[in-house]
Symmetry: C2
Subunit: 426 residues, 2 copies
Amino acid sequence: MGDRKISRRDLLRFAGAGGAGLTLGAGGYATLQRATDTRDAGDAADGLLPGASKVPFFGRNQAGISTTQQEHMQFAALDLVTEEVAEVRDLFRAWSEAAARMTRGEPAGEENYSQFLPPDDTGEAFGLSPANLTLTFGVGPSLFEKNGEDRFGLAKAMPDALSPLPPLTGDVLDGARSDGDLCIQACADDPQVAFHAVRNLVRIARGLAVVRWSQLGFGRTASTSKTQATPRNLMGLKDGTANIKAEDTGLMDHFVWVPQGEGPSWMAGGTYLVSRRIRMLIEVWDRVSLAEQEGSIGRHKYSGAPIGKEDEFDPVDLEAKDESGEPLISSDAHVRLARQSADEKILRRGYSFTDGFDAERGQLDAGLFFISFQRDPHRQFVPLQQRLAASDRLNEYIRHTASALFACPPGASEGGYVGERLFESV
Amino acid sequence: MGDRKISRRDLLRFAGAGGAGLTLGAGGYATLQRATDTRDAGDAADGLLPGASKVPFFGRNQAGISTTQQEHMQFAALDLVTEEVAEVRDLFRAWSEAAARMTRGEPAGEENYSQFLPPDDTGEAFGLSPANLTLTFGVGPSLFEKNGEDRFGLAKAMPDALSPLPPLTGDVLDGARSDGDLCIQACADDPQVAFHAVRNLVRIARGLAVVRWSQLGFGRTASTSKTQATPRNLMGLKDGTANIKAEDTGLMDHFVWVPQGEGPSWMAGGTYLVSRRIRMLIEVWDRVSLAEQEGSIGRHKYSGAPIGKEDEFDPVDLEAKDESGEPLISSDAHVRLARQSADEKILRRGYSFTDGFDAERGQLDAGLFFISFQRDPHRQFVPLQQRLAASDRLNEYIRHTASALFACPPGASEGGYVGERLFESV
């Protein structure tokens, strides 16, 4: 495998392809992908050659988790319609192959030039850079058991950590936008590249799985690398200051990656993905004072510093008092309740979303598509969210409207596929 | 007016603002906007100083029309709830002032630091570059007459060119996503900057107007400058090859800008905006052969060249025949029917969209949010679209699901506001 070389001959072959129409091979196509990109900021800014903005698909862990967070996301959850476990396995094999190709900047499949067939690739990413595309796959609890039924003979391989999340205080979940048998998280620095990837993967799944729900995200709401500035969410607040950073490999190993011997062996090197569609009640938030906004979060709005401090990364001092002896960070401030105990740290990787205006009230349907990765959601995400749901003052301004949980298997080696050890076990 | 200078003193004032909380003025804020941007590709690639990626709001014409097309769009249509024309005028004044500030990279309003008030600006664009933000305002036919009523005493100022579009063959329009009293087109190279602008303008309109519909767009589907490569739409086709380019000022003057003496004087230097939400039947398109895809459009898919030609910009030869004497470009090919007669040229400025999957059929709700600007939609857009609607083979793969028409007044001078000559006339 590895990357194709771009030869001058390839370029010349492409130049003539408009007229000939039938003669251009996949090599020439890959060349086109690389040669004509006009958008990729990373390359231009870094002075790197085109094609450098690629994240390898194969590896010990799946990409898109510790990867430096990209600017755009397209997420899709699918439900299986096949009843054959062999077809599910074949789907993961085909998905991994297509994902590896697309993350290298190649088309999803090889056959794109026969006049008599539909092209394997839908074409809207032709000429764009790979834009750091990552594709991360997961499987939901319902793959293992649905309505009490062991659909695919996989029930014995179900990890305890994948048990459905318990009901959480304040949830107003839309079932049609929650859960799913499978998930695809596509992240890239170009939204068209992320869209193209999900569209082609959904197409490959035709007859086997159908989309249950999808979500488009922009403007990352966390940083997963020390090289990134902390972004702002749609409340105008810096978000994810205290996030785990991928450079902290000790923290990643302790809090994110499932170690060998914990749960079924097919999940060693994997992780669990929690997604929560958190709608912000933006019109309400926008009408309250700066003091209330800062008090709710426990940080200064513009600097992101803890209240009473000057720098975003100053440590949060929960004991600090003001002149009248009141705590500077109130008992219901988000930053106090969200402080993770030694057991609860999670890797956040969310995005802002806007799905237009809801027709009933003419209000923005926008907010945060929260994604976290953790070794065990029941020991990390659940207690953290229970505490927030019970007392966080921010609850007045948000609603959790959808929820999902997926197990993301470890990465695949070249020639292998994601989920291999799960499906080879049956 | 003009841009604020960034002084070292401003930077120092900001550095201390986290603790002090109350002392930072708008100058310091503007500094923050410019100093910490980490995203703006244009600047980095061009080697320009931060702050250079700005498009002036004031000018002879409104920005966002001949402006080199940005990568992201947030469009909103609003309906007025006020019955006072003076309040509509004041809204346009307030919008223009906020738009001028935001396109310079400043907050929407001046008061952001009082602990006792809601901030004027919602904050999610703090620290981001202006990202070539443009804000383009328009007024719909219903501003002048609604249900036969002259709501604001403006009926006499209604241009003939703004008469509602006639029914067009094949339209399946959703009224809730069509039309509107007012529109805002926000375009930027960062989606969060576009979102922020519309959100703050909608907020300024509170009590006067409510959002009727909105649309998020990515991946421009036209080029408005000779410096831009032709992008691909979600059919994988190069789109807008034959578009008017802003450098052709003669064509712009002839086909886009309303000349003095044509219609009411308040529209001289303005233009008319047609928007069409065109859903693509992607699952159907993806199943047809390359020959059918290329035949439908009349161009080669990968090169964008007219069928039988080699280069995208080779002229379309409608007379060319294949070896058996059949026309290379068939009678129902899009490129044949979309060839604009001398009277029909339009400036296209559309975007791709994806609004998730429609729950009923599990199919992608995605396509092209078509926007065109023209001097007279009834002489340009309407005959062109009638011809396409009647015979275009692409109709098998698309549905026009929403439509709107707006008059975009000329640009404002510094100190003035968009729509000034309309509202000063009553």
